[in-house]
């Protein structure tokens, strides 16, 4: 029973982080039609910024906030500096090909990922370093017994839950949230309603950047920080987004938690070496059985 609970709680905490990554991916996919493979590179970069601040004696929370803000700024820079020029190249015949139009931004995001990794290595040296957590990673005790959940797990779940609530409120109750949803669904009609769709899209990139920064801050206490540690997170986040539905924000969150449980249970009941294969199998199953994802709509391809 204890291993089940451990797997469950750890799966919930991990799933919460995957949900954040997945959410960020879907935000940019819906808003800009790009799957941003550089997303966790951005997160790695901003987590390094936080780490540097902490090493120079800033408080954890100060570093936390600055990391989130940097995430937003970095996301906006990626859109304004790279993605917009990319999609506005009118004289590129390469973009006339249907399949290239989705492929080129993917390649660009891979380039950004490579540059961010190299820069992180240059600025902060590539050796692994630890990252603090504000809550001790010990199991919570009730009386004398250890529960299968740690304080840090609770912290993660709490923070992500709060983020999801805020995000939902933003999208369903605010004007800007409505503008973002509308821009993703139908850019032309939204422009005809007087909304600057380009700026809204950049905001989407910024929010996605913040979400992934948060994911980076929450995952590195356990995995340590180096230019490559967050790569796995991207793979899982992508799979989560596909499973939940690349076109659905709710779906991305659902997918994140599902994958959190899958990985956690494979880790506990099977073997850690099987995790990659489990992810691949899960992804393939999802793509074969229900390519639009659990909560996604039927249009699999974004035109």
């Amino acid at each position: 029973m204890n291993s089940f609970l451990t797997a469950f709680f750890s799966g919930t905490a991990q799933g919460a982080i995957y949900a954040l990554v997945s959410l960020g991916l879907v935000l940019v996919w819906r808003g800009a039609g790009v799957v941003n493979f550089a997303q966790m590179g951005q997160a790695m970069f901003t987590t390094y910024i936080a780490s540097q601040l902490i090493q120079h004696n800033y408080s954890y929370w100060m570093a936390f906030v600055i990391a989130l803000v940097s995430g937003a700024v970095l996301g906006a820079i990626v859109d304004l500096g790279f993605m917009r020029p990319l999609t506005s190249r009118k004289n590129s015949k390469l973009l006339n090909s249907q399949s290239m139009r989705t492929t080129i931004p993917v390649i660009a995001s891979l380039g950004i990922l490579g540059v961010l990794k190299a820069l992180a290595g240059i600025f902060w040296a590539g050796e692994e370093r630890g990252f603090p957590s504000p809550v001790a990673p010990n199991a919570i005790k009730i009386g004398d017994t250890n529960l299968a959940i740690t304080g840090f797990d609770l912290f993660v779940i709490g923070v992500v839950f709060l983020t999801l609530v805020l995000t939902t409120i933003f999208f369903t109750r605010t004007g800007m949230g409505l503008a973002m949803r509308a821009s993703a669904l139908n850019p032309e009609v939204t422009r005809l309603s007087g909304i600057k769709v380009g700026s809204v899209r950049t905001l989407g990139w910024a929010i996605s950047g913040t979400a992934s920064s948060l994911a980076g801050l929450l995952v590195t206490p356990r995995t340590n920080l180096s230019p490559n540690t967050l790569d796995l997170l991207l793979i899982v986040g992508f799979t989560a987004a596909v499973v939940g539905g690349l076109s659905s924000l709710m779906g991305s969150v659902l997918g994140g938690f599902i994958l959190g449980y899958v990985i956690s249970f494979v880790n506990v009941y099977s073997a850690p070496e099987n995790v990659f294969i489990a992810i691949l199998v899960f992804l393939l199953l999802a793509l074969f059985i229900r390519p639009q994802g659990i909560l996604g709509s039927k249009e699999v391809r974004r035109v």
Partner: protein, 237 residues
């Protein structure tokens, strides 16, 4: 007033608009009619900024609109209802209307609430179905919604692109009559592109007849109706 001078819009060296000039006077309904392919929709899309003209100018009173972005043209008080009752199907009726008023600078909540109420008074059926997805509305209701979204921003000029397209005659007549009444009541300037010349000329003050990208007649509506030779030659009846 809207002044269009020597407007030329090309698609891959085909001139869809070949030097169009006319004026749409404030507070009046000006209708642009003509056969299919005459350039009516291209004209409206160029004015609204969705297409960029090769040469020529578009002015709203003194404001040069010619190469501005779609969003800034809308923000200047020019609202547009593109053809095909463009609404966002996945959003609700209320959200579609709210979208139209989002960009308002002044304390939009106050104005937006009033404008929204006025729009619901104009089209009560939309109020009944305000929480339903726009995609579940009938064609006529969707057209009403598209117009509502445009109206809620209290525009000074309304561009209507073929509002009767795909609608039963009775419904499109109803919609056009509502627009007509609105124009008379509020002094809204309307530029109406219509396939159905009959209905359009019945409510319009002024008519512009297009053929092959050029203006062939620019007359008060009553005169255009009366000119049977013109009607026979270009409108087929």
């Amino acid at each position: 007033m809207l002044s269009v001078s020597n407007l030329v819009t090309e698609f891959d060296s085909v001139k869809a608009l070949n030097g169009i000039s006319f004026q749409a006077k404030p507070g009046l309904i000006t209708t642009v009619i003509g056969a299919n392919g005459a350039g009516k929709s291209t004209l409206l899309r160029t004015i609204s900024g969705l297409e960029k003209p090769t040469t020529g100018s578009i002015k709203w009173f003194d404001q040069e609109l010619t190469n501005k972005s779609v969003e800034s043209i809308v923000r200047s008080g020019i609202a547009q209802v593109p053809e095909g009752h463009a609404v966002i199907s996945q959003l609700s009726v209320a959200e579609n209307i709210e979208l139209g008023g989002l960009f308002h600078r002044r304390s939009f909540r106050g104005d937006l609430a009033i404008a929204t109420r006025e729009v619901y008074e104009l089209f009560p059926i939309l109020y009944e179905r305000r929480n339903e997805a726009a995609g579940s509305l009938s064609g006529g209701e969707r057209q009403m919604l598209a117009i509502s979204r445009a109206l809620v921003s209290r525009p000074k000029l309304l561009l209507l692109d073929e509002p009767s397209l795909g609608l039963a005659p009775m419904i499109s007549a109803q919609i056009i009559s509502i627009v007509n009444n609105l124009c008379r009541a509020t002094g809204l300037t309307v530029l109406l592109v219509e396939q159905n010349a009959n209905t359009a000329l019945a409510v319009a003050d002024h008519g512009i007849l297009l053929a092959l990208g050029k203006v062939v007649a620019d007359l008060p509506a009553k005169e255009m109706i009366a000119d049977s030779a013109l009607r026979a030659a270009y409108l087929g009846y």
